[in-house]
Every structure is written in C-alpha cells, then in structure tokens.
Symmetry: C2
C-alpha cells in the first residue's frame, strides 16, 4: 500500500453513500484526511461527523448553531469541491444537487468519485469535455458502472459490448395490475440493496437502470446500441463486459455498496478488507438472468429514449423523475403515475440543441415546474 | 491491430488444440507465419497441413514418405522449438511429450503457449526458474488458467484467492456404485467440452482439475490453500479470481477452446471474432455451482496431495495417470481402477527432493513401469 494521504471532501456525507464513505475512512484512517463535509438536512449526524473527523470546511443548509464550534470554515459545496486543499471529491449527493459542485471540482482539476448519477444524465457531454480539458479524473461509485470499470481495467480499447445487471426491484414478480396500488413502504423495501430513498424508488421503477445506461454511455464511450440490461435478481453479478474476441468478464460481490465505494476511494490500489462477506459460488448455488420486460418498467425505456435523443431531454427526465419520486413518497401520486408524469414532461418539452449549462438548468427548472403542477388524468 | 507477424511452431498440430490453433491461423493469415509443425501418429492430417501451411520445419514419428515433398526440413520437436526462426511455440501435445520441447523453447527464450498441463505438473519449479532466467514468457492455453490470467490482467499483485470451475464430467450425477462399470465410450462423451481423449478421461475423473490446480499454483504463484475448485455444470464461467478487497472477477464464454487458444495467440491484443457464439446471460438463464464431492472424484485429491508434497510425486502422478488412462481406454482396467493405480504408484514411490530434470524423468519412467505391471486387487 502507498503512504499517500488522500485529501477528501464528501458532498452528501450524511446520506447512505456518504456514511459508507466515512466507514472506509474509519477503516483506513492513515489513508485519508477529511478536509470537507457537506450535508443537507441531517444536522444532527453532520454535527457528529464534524466532531469525529474535524474537517476544515463544512457545508450545510440549516443554522450554524446546530454544529459544534471549532476550527472549521463554512463553505458552499462548490467552494469546498474546488478548494486547493482538496484532492478527491466524493459526490454522494442525489438528484440535481451534485451537478454544480461536480463541475466546480472538475474545473479545478480534482479527482471526482461520482455516486450522483444524475450529474451524467443531465450534463454528461459537458462534464466529460470539461474533465478532458482540465485533466480531471471521474471515478464511478455506483456498483454497476464500477463493475464495468473494473472489468475493462487494462483493456479499455477492446470493449465490444456492456451488459448492466438490474435486480428488478421489489415488484419484479408482482402482477402488473397491482402496481398502481403499491405503497411507498413496499417500494422502499428493496430485495437486495440498502440505499437512499430516491435511488431505491428509482430501482423499483428501473429509472435508475436507465440512468445507469446513460452514465455508462458517457463514462465508457460505448454507443447505446452496445449497452444491454439484464434482470439478475440476486444482485451478485454487477455487470458484464464483452470484448472484441467474444470473451466476457464479470465483476461479482454480495450486494454491498462498500465494495464499489472502497474501490473508488482506494483506486488505483485495492486495499485488503475482511469486514464484509465475500462471494462464494457453491454457497450461492445459482445465479439467474432474465430479459427485461419493458411493460413492467416503462421508466427504463423513457430514460433510454431520453439518453439517445440527448440535448435537454435527459435533464427533463431527471428533474421530472426527482419531483415524481417525491410526489409518490408523499402519496400524492401513485407508483404507476411516475412514468406517466415523466413521459408527459418529455413529450411537452421543447428541447435545446447542444445545451450550455444554463440551458440544462433552465430545462431542469421547466421540468420541475411542469411536474409540480402535473395531475393524473 | 498490430502488423507484426508471429513466427509460430505448433507441437501436436494434428490434435484437438493443434487443429484449432491452425483454425486461428486461417482466420488471421496476415498475423502468422507457420514455421514448424510437429505431430505424432496422424500422418495423413499432417500431410494436409504441410501442403496448406508450407512450414519450414516438420517433426513426425513415422516415415518421411507419407509427407508431401517440398522445401521443409525434418526436425525433432526440441530442435524446432528452440530454432532462431521460431518466436512463439504452441505446445499442444499431451502427457509427457511436451516437457523436453517446452524446456528447449524456454531455454531459447521463446514465448510458449502451453496447452500441455503435464509440463507444469511434472516440472513446474524447473520450468519457471528456467523461464525466469531466460526471460521466456509462458502463456496458458487451458480455458481455466486462461480465465484466471485474463481476470488478473493489470492487477497481478492484488490476487487473494482463485477458484477454478469444473464441469464435473459425464458422471457427475451417476450413482457411485455404477462408476466401476462405465465404458470408455461413456467416459469420452463429455457433457460440455470437445477435447482430445486423454484430457476428456482426465475430466471425467477430475484428475484434469487437480492438475490445473498444480498448474495455477505455479503459473500465478498462489499457495495451494488459496486455490479452490467448484463444480459448474454449464462450463460457462471458466474461473473466479478474488482480490484482496473481496471483489471477484470471472471470465465467461461458451465452452469452446477457440476462445482461450485465440487469446494466447493474440496476446497482448484481442482480435475481433464473429465466428463463434458468445455468452448471453438471459439466453443462458442460470449458472449453477456446487461443492466438489471428493468421494466421487478421488483422482482430484490424489493430484492435489501430490502437488502439495511436490518433489517427484507430481511426475509419478502424471505418468501413472497417463498409463492408467490408456489401460482404461483399451478396457484392461475399469474406470475406478484409475485412481487405485495412481494411488498405489504414489504410495510406493520413493521421492527425490528438489529433483533435476533427470530425476523427474527417472520418476516418470519408474511410474510407467509400475503402472504397466499394475493389476487390480
């Protein structure tokens, strides 16, 4: 193992990925210096994290009085992500929140570990061209893009095809006619993964997998017609990569976000870890795969279509979905209204070609406005 | 793709791996110059190959008159394998036959694509130290070692554990008490792989997998207690590698030797190939894994024990097995006599510590003599 200390800022430190990032820091304290912590609403947990990790910079939405006093400076996420003392930025926010700080980090040439897939969905082209011109690295944190990244390690030029796996969520076997009446509690009960609320609902609709296809398209420079998705209920194979000679590599592990989070943090190294259970073929017994039924998962097709169309469509998709998931969680629309709302937003949107950041954000605003006034027919 | 022509000699060109090597040469004629062909008994096919590929050197056991005349020189396999005009030697022989030519090739600093696993079983330590001192590369051709090699590509230092897969052969579900009466024809009917006779019988007894464990131990410098074997009846996952962080990579493809043969020949590149079917997760449906039942496969344990003991034991194992398989194929012993013969040879052998090649060959001779006089009790 190298002796280099990574100077880390965590955006979204109180969320699921943020907390697990800090678990890795606890397991390898000599490897990290936590320079910055940023959180949204959970000030109680942020206060504990500030006491434990003693960051130099803290970003928060509520009152300063809720945090312990000490030697830290209050910063915006953008200031923190682009500060000269920070080297590695973990973007563990969800939805739109990560876009501006990610662009700030990239413009400052930082290495970005990106768990917030909406950043690529909204502005994949912009993010990549900026990263390219600034020499910034973007490391995937989501389990499936991380799996692809690990499989192509050392032979990026030989990739022919990518297959992302999807668990199928909690409603994979539910009769279609019952989907309109599923509750938020049922939708939040994911069969294999423990994740934040937004991504868990997106995993039940497979919007999440559609967004991962867009993310994989940008991250690995693979055209959409060479990216497949297959349902894999056990969530142990996290993706397949087929190479030009027809050989396939897969990345496997139990469904535990600590694997991809630690890999993004340890990259280009791997660090020994005994703290989480590993995959045993004989104990697992069987790995199964089935085709994706697009009638069951209309959000997946909406995401894929928006990704292929490009322009401001993916931004509208992400914004409309974010609002729709909120409306579903607060019981104001049904589970099957989510794709209807998103579809209506996409069909009524007037796209902007090759949009700048301003146009991307304007499309986002428009879609949020549209979605918040949307009513089921 | 690079423009460099690989100057190739094929030892065992008329066998299963040899013929498939020439299929790759046919598919990529601009990539290869066939400098040498060597075969044992099948002079008719060798004659055809000589006409088609016009090698400079030919090695054969029978009369020169059976081959077409032309501009070739008759060579021994050792002469051919070490000749300055040859760069890459495909060792596609079986049993003991490949040992001397492999050592000759390595001593001359050639790159060796090794399909003849008995070479590592008999003399792994010798072969590796010679390869190291001469700067010769050894590339695995067997599907499972090739899978491991591909999975660890670029992160050789991070390997924690290796799991080789085994189909379990044609008798995986046969009642144990019926195994004594299975016929050579049944044993040659492998459920997933098309291979030569020797390796097919070794796959039915799992001697083959035990030898692969020894091969993997040497090739990848992994201690025996970190090499596992799991039964995988579909033969699609060709091995698993677990890294120090608990992540696992697998290599998958339909059971077709053209994949690993082509990879060894194209390495460090991969060449596009549309000629063989590729793996589709949804079409495959299910991949299953079960523990190895050592009562069913006593040859596996014999190989593993011989590998761990080292010295001249593995050489005795390989020689006794080669004779036992011949005796079984000619119906002079039963299927369940194979492990009995090998076990008796190992138990009566007086080992030589850190053996030179002469001692390894003497142990081989002794074991062949012992095996040919062995009678079931």
């Amino acid at each position: 193992m190298g002796d280099k200390v990574k100077k880390l800022a965590i955006l979204g430190s109180t969320g699921s990925v943020g907390r697990q990032t800090l678990e890795v820091v606890r397991a390898y304290p000599q490897k990290f210096q936590v320079i910055g912590l940023a959180a949204g609403k959970n000030m109680e947990l942020l206060a504990e994290q500030v006491l434990e990790f003693k960051p130099k910079f803290v970003s928060f939405q509520n009152s300063r009085n809720e945090l312990p006093r000490g030697g830290w400076t209050a910063f915006s996420m953008e200031e923190m992500a682009s500060h000269p003392e920070v080297e590695l930025v973990m973007v563990a926010t969800t939805g739109k929140a990560g876009l501006a700080p990610t662009l700030a980090a990239i413009s400052a040439g930082k290495t970005v570990a990106l768990a917030n897939k909406e950043v690529f969905v909204m502005a994949g082209g912009l993010v990549l061209s900026e990263a390219h011109s600034r020499g910034a690295k973007i490391l995937p944190v989501d389990s499936e893009p991380s799996a692809i990244w690990q499989c192509i390690h050392g032979e990026e030029r030989n990739v022919a095809k990518i297959t992302l796996t999807a668990s199928g969520g909690p409603f994979r076997a539910r009769p279609l006619k019952e989907l309109a009446s599923v509750s938020p509690e049922e939708a939040l009960r994911h069969p294999t993964w423990k994740m934040g609320k937004k991504v868990t609902i997106d995993s039940a609709t497979l919007m999440n997998k559609g967004m991962e296809v867009i993310e994989a398209h940008w991250l690995f420079d693979v055209p959409y017609d060479r990216i497949n998705v297959v349902i894999h209920p056990q969530s142990i194979v996290h993706s397949f990569v087929e190479f030009v000679d027809g050989s396939v590599k897969a990345k496997l592990s139990p469904p535990d976000m600590r694997f991809p989070i630690q890999y993004a943090l340890s990259y280009p190294e791997r660090w020994p870890s005994d703290s989480h259970p590993t995959f045993s073929p004989a104990a697992t017994g069987s790995l199964t795969f089935e085709s994706l039924d697009s009638n069951r998962y209309p959000c997946f097709q909406l995401a894929l279509d928006a990704g292929k169309k490009g322009d401001t469509y993916p931004s509208v998709l992400a914004a409309a979905d974010e609002v729709a998931v909120d409306l579903f969680l607060s019981r104001r629309i049904t589970f099957t209204d989510i794709p209807k709302l998103v579809e209506d937003a996409l069909s009524q949107h007037r796209p902007q070609r090759s949009p700048s950041l301003d146009y991307i954000l304007a499309a986002d605003e428009w879609a949020r406005e549209f979605a918040s006034h949307w009513r089921p027919t």
